[in-house]
């Protein structure tokens, strides 16, 4: 039985805690947060102990620490956890800067612990299937790849997400999902050019990134925290031998409408594709790797490469558009 400590009791902390409750080999033993009420609330939900004392994370009986703090604190907790000999699940982005990321890599390697970063998009079946098709040569040499990831601005008023210094905006926080998938599928990136409007956060952020890969492929990644509708993603991959497209809108296998009881509220319609949660598959993969002593498919270096690509895109955006070589 792996005993898990949740480090950071926000939305993703709760999500992973729920996953670990569904994995027979794990048990959530501890919830840590600097905000006592947050730690208490999640701890009660999952039947774990709560603490605001960081040192309890590194206690003897904890095997796996799940780092789900705001991004700028990922590196320090991961390094502490590694030095304490704990296995680690860290939410993406692995670190807020390339330099922080480098220190994380060193610490994890030195400690010899297992660490995986939550680049969950790899576990979404449409992204995995598209990558397999590409790698099987189904569409020949890849020429142009386009990804889209659209959301409303996350977090409540005053949220750390809205602070560019902390979150890096939509490009660093959300498009990093696509950056990781692009690197995983098409190999190393050579250069980046990006434009965006992080200065408008809140209420919105939006960016458009061009990436040139060493393979020659060109990619365009759109990220939106400007949207007012439902979360959605799209991608298309054009190659010398054909085209692969996916649009999450219209791929729902189930749509439920509920007429609200209160007068005046419009019917709420939620499209979904029920199936095993990619977030749960992700956590199961990590647990399996820890138990078998294997390296998870998402390596620390992969996560660092995604951080470097996202940081390069942000550098280009901050300069109002400039070529950043990787």
């Amino acid at each position: 039985m792996l005993k898990v400590a949740i480090c950071g009791a926000g939305g993703l902390g709760a999500s992973h805690a729920d996953n670990f409750q569904h994995i027979p080999e794990t048990e959530v033993a501890l919830v840590y947060d600097v905000i006592e009420e947050a730690a208490d609330a999640l701890a009660e939900t999952v039947g774990a102990a709560a603490t605001t004392d960081e040192t309890k994370l590194y206690a003897e009986d904890i095997d796996l620490i799940c780092v789900t703090t705001p991004t700028p604190f990922h590196a320090q907790y991961v390094i502490e956890a590694a030095e304490a000999g704990k296995h680690i699940l860290c939410e993406k982005p692995m670190a807020r800067t390339v330099e922080q990321g480098r220190k994380v890599l060193e610490a994890v390697e030195k400690a010899g612990v297992t660490m995986m970063v939550g680049h969950v998009v790899r576990f979404f079946p449409e992204y995995a299937a598209a990558r397999e098709l590409v790698q099987s040569g189904a569409i020949g040499e890849v020429g142009m790849v386009r990804t889209t990831r659209i959301n409303t601005l996350p977090g409540p008023e005053g949220s750390w997400f809205h602070n560019y210094e902390m979150s890096g905006g939509v490009t660093f926080d959300m498009v990093i999902h696509d950056f990781d998938w692009l690197l995983w599928t098409f190999g190393p990136a050579e250069r980046v050019y990006a434009v965006g409007v992080p200065d408008h956060m809140p209420p919105l952020d939006y960016s458009l990134t061009t990436i040139r890969f060493e393979s020659g492929a060109i990619a365009h990644a759109e990220g939106s925290w400007a949207d007012l509708g439902l979360f959605r993603t799209e991608f298309e991959i054009a190659g010398s031998g054909g085209l692969i497209k996916h649009d999450s809108t219209g791929m729902a296998t189930l749509t439920v409408q509920k007429r609200e009881q209160q007068a005046g509220l419009a019917a709420v319609q939620v499209p979904e594709s029920p199936g095993k949660s990619p977030y749960l598959i992700e956590d199961e993969h990590l647990v399996q790797c820890i138990l078998e002593g294997k390296q998870p498919d998402i390596t620390p270096q992969d996560a660092q490469d995604a951080v470097a690509l996202a940081a390069a895109a942000c550098e280009s955006i901050e300069a109002g558009g400039k070529v950043v070589n990787l």
């Binding site: 040499e141 050019y193 434009v195 010398s240 054909g242 085209l243 558009g321």
Partner: protein, 330 residues
């Protein structure tokens, strides 16, 4: 009085749509066709039940109000200059030309001859774009911060793949429509372009077939435009023209050619999109014919054509140097 219109050349496929519009629109008298490929011209004259003229001068001397030039891109200039000399207003297919000096010479010659030069940007006539423009102009989206545009297509082949005649590949073919829409929407001019351009889908081509442009505007709006011929040959429609517009007050999406019927044919096991809705070429041809006959100023000028083409040329320069290029070009 009906506007007397002729067409020079059926090298560009759009000539067929313009010819159809000339026959459809009541106030147009489709006088005739000249084509340097006489066989092609005669065939078209037969199809559209109009006269084939044995020489360009003969067509231009036939009492035309206006002439539509649908040659290969590099031959726009000589034909526009001939029309100017004959005192006939011109509707020129996009892109206006293949170089800034050529385009400027065309604009100057028309201006000197007091002949109107209109560039064909049919996307402006899309009702969806019209409504988007109203929404933006009414301030309903606030300040426009970003635009994501696409104008992707199948490779049209033929002279479009000939650098001499087309002046470029996909980027030359597919940059100008959406750049024109962006200029209209923003009432602003591009000041910088960065582009990744290459030949990706058909290695045998001498021209580019993949292009991704990032265009910054004077007023601060930033945009990207995918101008690739990235649609496979059996794609169910020729391509698309789309814009996603992000403003401080809201967002809008326009997808100009998305209205379609899904058609599955047993005959050739094919699946195609059957377009329906407003034909944007109608607006272009009707406005041109009216302005040519009445002397009203044309709504889309040679200058508009030049500014849009300049972004494509800047994009090629950027791809050559690996750096963003300042606009207008020096």
């Amino acid at each position: 009085m009906a506007s007397r219109i002729g067409i020079i050349s059926f090298a560009h496929l759009h000539a067929h749509s313009y010819a159809t519009r000339c026959n459809e629109i009541e106030d147009i008298e489709f006088v005739g066709i000249w084509d340097d490929d006489a066989e092609r011209g005669k065939e078209a004259a037969k199809t559209y039940e109009t006269e084939f003229f044995a020489s360009r001068d003969a067509l231009l001397d036939a009492g035309l109000d206006g002439v539509i030039v649908t040659t290969e891109n590099a031959r726009h200039k000589e034909n526009v200059l001939a029309a100017a000399e004959a005192g006939v207003d011109v509707l020129c297919e996009k892109p206006i030309s293949v170089s800034v000096p050529d385009a400027q010479e065309m604009i100057d010659a028309c201006s000197k001859a007091k002949v109107q030069l209109m560039i064909s940007f049919p996307c402006r006539y899309s009702p969806a774009f019209g409504r988007a423009l109203e929404t933006v102009r009414a301030g309903e989206l606030g300040e426009i911060l970003c635009i994501k545009g696409t104008n992707r297509g199948r490779n049209p082949g033929g002279w479009f793949n000939d650098l001499e005649l087309a002046g470029g590949g996909a980027v030359m073919d597919h940059t100008v429509h959406v750049v024109d829409l962006m200029r209209v929407l923003l009432e602003d001019e591009p000041c910088k372009v960065y582009a990744e351009i290459d030949t990706m889908f058909n290695p045998d081509l001498e021209c580019d077939d993949a292009g991704l442009l990032t265009i910054s505007f004077e007023g601060g709006c930033v945009s990207t435009l995918d101008a690739s011929w990235s649609r496979p040959p059996h794609y169910p429609i020729w391509g698309d023209a789309t814009m996603c517009v992000i403003g401080t007050g809201g967002n809008c999406w326009v997808d100009l050619f998305v209205e379609h019927l899904d058609i599955y044919r047993n005959e050739d096991s094919s699946y195609v999109w059957g377009p329906y809705g407003y034909n944007t070429d109608t607006g272009v041809v009707r406005d041109f014919a009216r302005c040519a006959e009445s002397g009203e100023p044309v709504p889309i000028t040679g200058y508009d054509g030049l500014k849009a083409m300049e972004v494509a040329l800047g994009a090629y320069e950027s791809a050559r140097t690996g750096q963003p290029v300042a606009l207008p070009l020096a």
